[in-house]
Symmetry: D2
Subunit: 327 residues, 4 copies
Amino acid sequence: MPHYYALGVNKIPVGVLGASGYAGRELCALIHAHPSLCLAFATANEQRGQTVRVVGRDITFVAVEDAPLGDAELIFSALPHGTSKDWVTRAGHADARVVDLSADLRPGSGCEGVPYGLTELARKRVSEATVVANPGCYPTSILLALAPLIARGSIPPGAAITVNSASGVTGAGRAPNRELLFAEVADDYRAYAAGNGHRHLPEIRATLADWGSDVDVAFTPHLLPVARGILSTIVVPLVAPLQDVLGPWRETYAREPFIEITPEQPTLHDVIHRNVARITAVSLAGMRTPTLVIISAIDNLLKGAAGQAVQNANLMLGLPETAGLPA
Amino acid sequence: MPHYYALGVNKIPVGVLGASGYAGRELCALIHAHPSLCLAFATANEQRGQTVRVVGRDITFVAVEDAPLGDAELIFSALPHGTSKDWVTRAGHADARVVDLSADLRPGSGCEGVPYGLTELARKRVSEATVVANPGCYPTSILLALAPLIARGSIPPGAAITVNSASGVTGAGRAPNRELLFAEVADDYRAYAAGNGHRHLPEIRATLADWGSDVDVAFTPHLLPVARGILSTIVVPLVAPLQDVLGPWRETYAREPFIEITPEQPTLHDVIHRNVARITAVSLAGMRTPTLVIISAIDNLLKGAAGQAVQNANLMLGLPETAGLPA
Amino acid sequence: MPHYYALGVNKIPVGVLGASGYAGRELCALIHAHPSLCLAFATANEQRGQTVRVVGRDITFVAVEDAPLGDAELIFSALPHGTSKDWVTRAGHADARVVDLSADLRPGSGCEGVPYGLTELARKRVSEATVVANPGCYPTSILLALAPLIARGSIPPGAAITVNSASGVTGAGRAPNRELLFAEVADDYRAYAAGNGHRHLPEIRATLADWGSDVDVAFTPHLLPVARGILSTIVVPLVAPLQDVLGPWRETYAREPFIEITPEQPTLHDVIHRNVARITAVSLAGMRTPTLVIISAIDNLLKGAAGQAVQNANLMLGLPETAGLPA
Amino acid sequence: MPHYYALGVNKIPVGVLGASGYAGRELCALIHAHPSLCLAFATANEQRGQTVRVVGRDITFVAVEDAPLGDAELIFSALPHGTSKDWVTRAGHADARVVDLSADLRPGSGCEGVPYGLTELARKRVSEATVVANPGCYPTSILLALAPLIARGSIPPGAAITVNSASGVTGAGRAPNRELLFAEVADDYRAYAAGNGHRHLPEIRATLADWGSDVDVAFTPHLLPVARGILSTIVVPLVAPLQDVLGPWRETYAREPFIEITPEQPTLHDVIHRNVARITAVSLAGMRTPTLVIISAIDNLLKGAAGQAVQNANLMLGLPETAGLPA
């Protein structure tokens, strides 16, 4: 009798590699609350053997080397970038499907060919995949916002798009780091990786190229004194003014349970603790070229990481896409 | 014997209209710490007659109607926009010079002709003025950052500049407002006045036009969960790449005590409680058109309001420009 | 056919008076997520006629005068103190049961006789009641912590107990109030109502007296720069040292789903967004009289207000006590 | 010609051991702003050789082993507890006076005999000392508040005093520590070291014993989600009610430039960035024994560490006690 029947009647056992970081903990919490998944194992090398309270439940971590990969039907890898790839391979050898939350297999990483799990735009490929590259948090907020314009050819060829994103500190991980101490972050705000140097930009550019777009992207990420949430402010020149400024998004995402199109400005409060992207667009007055500003907000740990990972896992396992996800 | 001799030996009496708001309080604090100024009066209609502790000193507010305008050689008006203009006129009749912190007399307001007190770029006009329009906080952070490029003709004619600014909540004033309650602002971040609808944009555009520039500006202000500070992220296309990316700023502001040009990214921590603008610029990689991102940080209450106001007042009164200002 | 069948099949219609404050909004959110309740109406005088998004759902507020009281089987009143009492009476005339979240009917208010809904300690009375006075947030955190010692006679007669509580700002309500603006609260911490002047102290004292205790209480509430959560630190002299320091709480609350007794120090993070009280106790070293420090943490809006109100409503309506409540 | 003449004309050279922590940085900033002191060296082992911007000035750190102890007339040691003592001895061999900010030489440490630098209460001893043990931040806030009552014999012999203190996170130091990451501290509040286990309690008890008091102290420190500031809430039984509740403090601290006695509740905002203790007291209503609550607020990095250290250094060097200190 397989191990997991002890874990939950009629539940599918899944594992989490790298469970002590912010995304890993969020995954554990989602799995606990999920009607059809149960946690087969959770790894955390530094805390191996320790029992830790994660969102109201006790979890005993094992070292990644000791993870019973074969006990899980699907494995979420929230291991550090660079480390994750090998474990995706090992998980495959153990016949487990994988949702990889690291950057290792994403577009622009050099490891092409793995379906890119921007769920709403890749349902079919994700459903049939054994391995999915779960998108980065910044790319999720930006690409979901841009897709309707790219699809309609609304942006002039070769145009430049300006993206300013601001993220809560959980996006920077949970490793002890002096720069992320409370007294360093509180009351502060800063740009970082300016000059288009952020790890996520190749992912954005490669995906836009996959979509047939040749736009330039000027991307500046910023660090907010909040724990969670990302808000991207995207300025886009248009071929022609839009009659219905929200039309492209309303059409593209008409029946999406996890995408909200609103005339009001989305805020972090609107999206945190929810697996949604909330998007608006406004025409900019007084510009020679018709120009839009698009605002897109997500919870970086849910729609930008663990939530979208579970959304993808649901598809891969034949479960309802919304199962276990807070909308 | 004039009233003010009682106030401070060899000190110049100045008054503050609208002293109970954040900028007004900051003005009172700067005046108290100033070696050559003393406070002749401070008005606050709602708190008239009350003695309030402002940064360690007790101040008794009077109603604006009861302010002894003639007792002051110079008056700072931090009255609400729309209200200030009349009091600037009355102060003039009382032979007081005026630094007006409201938007009433700024470029783009319809009341042109008053010197615009972006101090570093208008020293001579300010020194000779009887009334100065003190710049808005967003325009200060943006225009000081753009001036060196405009002066050099480095931006292609008719090009579009994208400005994303984020401000602490003191920029929104101290009136009781449900949207600014702690529980509404904490853990949140949002864009507002998107679509180029912010009051400060006409000021920016009119000033750029005064400088002979015809660039378009896409401006999106954001509200940060911090008390003070503004950081503007400005993306600018260039006519040609810069050999020395910081050169234009280092040359323009070579001997400026209140402008810091740095290769590091400025942060709010670097500038709060200081009367400085701190600026960097970085070339954006991977763009068809050579493009810079400029980051400019100020304390919205000091260099963006009360500090620059005292800097202007110092010039108008023949005092050293740096007197009483924290750099 | 009664109105509410349109609202939800097999759901019990309930109303919320005073739905635009923090507790009222939390009530609406809990009712929406509740398996057996549906919202018959929600009142908010200032926002009458407006449709407001509350935790992901749209609610149209009505004026309290227009509330169809008779449509609800049970009404939650989150009206301001002093105003609520009359509406409790009117709701009774309309044959609706009432959970009153105001202070109007609590012990010490002068309106005695209404069951006091400290649920775990008053289940039978609450189950049979038509009106319940829902406890204040501070008293909930304090009285649940003290009850096991009072019941055992562990505190010397006439002794003095020292209570220091710290609350997030939502405890102070959502009315626009300059003292609660973000820039006033951030980076600050203060005591208030010192000298035993807080509204909640009579409620605590009257309840202790009802329990037969004659202890003195020195109570100092403090305002924290957080949105939600209360932590009370209670220092209690004992008749004799405890062999098992957590024993009294573990026994009293052995099977309680919403009370957690832990050897670790509870924190606000442990309890926010959950309807629980989390309590520890530690012996104080180096004291002549055996002395305990008890730490008790709750979410002021859930276990301290809306959550406990739904817990009481569940009992009054014959539903499972835990229905619809996040533990 | 001694080294320090190069450092500043007519300035006294001082050194800082352990300059990269929060207290060490604050010391460097105070020394820079001081009219009569200049920085001879600053040590930071991990950052040796690095030039770091500290409050607007560049400082190049050296390893502690390389510090030219003999170049300084006075040395501030902000080294970790346990490490500092040896360096105090070495500094003495180099003929430098020392203000030791560690706990190594404080009352209750086992190393008695060194003057305890609670400046206002130990002026003569400090002035004549070659080594001073600078008080801890919690003890400073608590002992300055208690001293007037102890001196008057106002507290019943053997009585128990309850102290609840809450501190900003800079009190916990600047070492990278997961528990002090922004996302762990924000929106949280917790007690720690409950059960009278905090390092500072022996210091408080030994000092009270030195003052001839035999009171018991129940001390619970708490961690606040703010960068700086300590507020202590102290509940004290009295022998008899006070006619003038603030009288004892007003008399004891009548001419003190750094102690403020106020009828209003002191807040962290009142004291941060200032070298003051701000104290109030209120009679508690409804208690059998006359009881006071005393509230005492300081900036933990100034009056609770670097500020008081400079105050002591000023006395030791024959400078005006207030020199270089923000009141």
